[in-house]
């Protein structure tokens, strides 16, 4: 576990053509500092696994406009029209998954599960080409696990071992993503000493985390602000 002093250092190991999970539900719980740093890094051909690909010209949306993203895997690309446009122009591949399937597949990836059967999506356009199986009289479709080279997550507090706790609904996809990538970096508001987080309260035990860095961009009522 490494404590990075800048986001730039934190994402030094990221490379072109990697698969990167990015936490957040819209801007809420998104690692805004790390995303911003990624827009400044010379990489391309990325596969991004994230609920959405930012908003128009914001967050992951910048990466899309920079054509650094080869493929997006998520549940809701609607909120950024640029994503749909890039897709129509054939510049961007998209894989649309029900939100619960996205969350569950990431969890499966982190838990060493190869794939699982869900009844969400059965008989819809999103099940086309997916293996069907009947279990106890119910129809299910197969969904493979998702894993990544890197996960960029947003937490509230970390201790110096790398244990993480999250803040309110900013928790969302972050805890699963922290389990499902080879290299996990968490952007946090506060770094505390081991023992300051209650052992019963820790959501992401440190064995999942490779690096932490303090957030330099935070979400406020009035939008994203730079701090420190």
């Amino acid at each position: 576990m490494k404590i990075f002093s800048t986001a730039k250092e934190a994402i030094e190991k990221l490379e072109s053509n990697q698969t990167i999970m990015v936490g957040g539900f819209g801007l809420i719980g998104a690692p805004l500092t790390l995303i911003d740093e990624l827009t400044q890094k010379d990489v391309s051909g990325l596969t991004i696994i994230s609920n959405n690909l930012g908003e128009k010209g914001k967050g992951l949306g910048i990466l899309v406009n920079q054509k650094k993203v080869k493929k997006g895997i998520g549940s809701y690309f609607t909120s950024n029209r640029d994503v749909g446009d890039a897709y129509q122009r054939g510049e961007l591949e998209l894989e649309l998954l029900p939100q619960g399937t996205l969350a569950e597949s990431i969890r499966a990836g982190g838990a060493g599960i190869g794939g699982y059967y869900t009844n969400t999506g059965v008989g819809t356009e999103l099940s086309v080409g997916k293996e069907e199986k009947e279990i106890n009289g119910v129809k299910y479709i197969f969904e493979p696990a998702l894993t990544a080279n890197v996960a960029l997550v947003r937490a509230w507090k970390a201790d110096t071992l790398g244990n993480l706790v999250y803040y309110k609904t900013a928790r969302n996809f972050n805890p699963m993503m922290a389990t499902a990538a080879d290299y996990v970096i968490a952007e946090v508001d506060e770094i505390v000493q081991p023992g300051e987080l209650s052992p019963e309260e820790i959501i992401t035990p440190h064995l999942f985390v490779n690096g932490i860095v303090k957030a330099a961009k935070i979400l406020t009522k009035d939008g994203v602000k730079s701090i420190g």
């Binding site: 549940s75 809701y76 129509q88 609904t169 900013a170």
Partner: protein
């Protein structure tokens, strides 16, 4: 009109229920709950959603529509996998959703429009599969005055499961064994208007609501 629909939907919610509210009209349902014993679930990870005053807004506490909400006493937070495990594992009693279309069997379309750049499904399919009861709240017709209740959906369906109840500004329909039953005429509506603006066959059954209809 929206509040009329939301108010009617609120009457369906039994004390102690766990209810997931979709975006749009469904969000308004919470304003019409008299009793505090209804628990609102939002799929981004909170059980115990309440209203929030402008002054108390926390940008990190939002609902599925990414709008700021409050935290009820006894609320709890959880991650998205756990949240959808609740939905998909049938632990949510009622989901109230908006739709683009609903058909004669009670199947709905609410996530994609062919030829349009809408590429989001969010939690719609999960809720359709997992919630014990599905209530649709919607305007009876779309902006161009065409019926949203059709013989068959022309947009991609959200699930092969029928919804349970459909509430519009004109009528309330129940889905029974894959057939629509008009069970209520809403205030300022008439059976003639309902017949005119509903492009799916439906039966009429008023026995449960006295003289309210016809």
């Amino acid at each position: 009109m929206q509040n009329l629909i939301a108010k009617r939907a609120a009457q369906e919610l039994k004390s102690g229920s766990v209810v997931n509210l979709g975006i749009g009209i469904p969000t308004l349902v919470a304003n019409h709950i008299a009793d505090g014993d209804i628990f609102f679930h939002t799929e981004n990870g909170l059980l115990g959603v309440t209203d929030v005053n402008e002054a108390d807004i926390d940008p990190n506490i939002v609902n599925a529509g990414k709008l700021p909400v409050g935290e009820a006493i006894g609320a709890s937070y959880f991650n998205s996998a756990e949240s959808f495990a609740m939905i998909r594992g049938q632990h949510v009693d009622v989901a109230i959703l908006g739709v683009l279309q609903v058909d004669a069997k009670g199947l709905i379309a609410n996530w994609a429009v062919p030829g349009k750049n809408i590429m989001g499904v969010g939690g719609a399919m999960d809720l359709l599969t997992g919630a014990k009861k599905i209530i649709v709240t919607m305007s009876h017709t779309s902006k161009d005055d065409t019926s949203k209740i059709l013989k068959e959906c022309t947009y991609p369906i959200t699930s092969t499961r029928s919804v349970n109840l459909i509430i519009t500004e004109l009528a309330v329909f129940e889905v029974r064994n894959g057939e629509l039953y008009c069970i209520e005429i809403m205030p300022n509506s008439s059976i003639e208007e309902i017949r005119e603006k509903t492009k799916a066959p439906f039966k009429e059954d008023w026995h449960n609501n006295g003289g309210q209809a016809r």
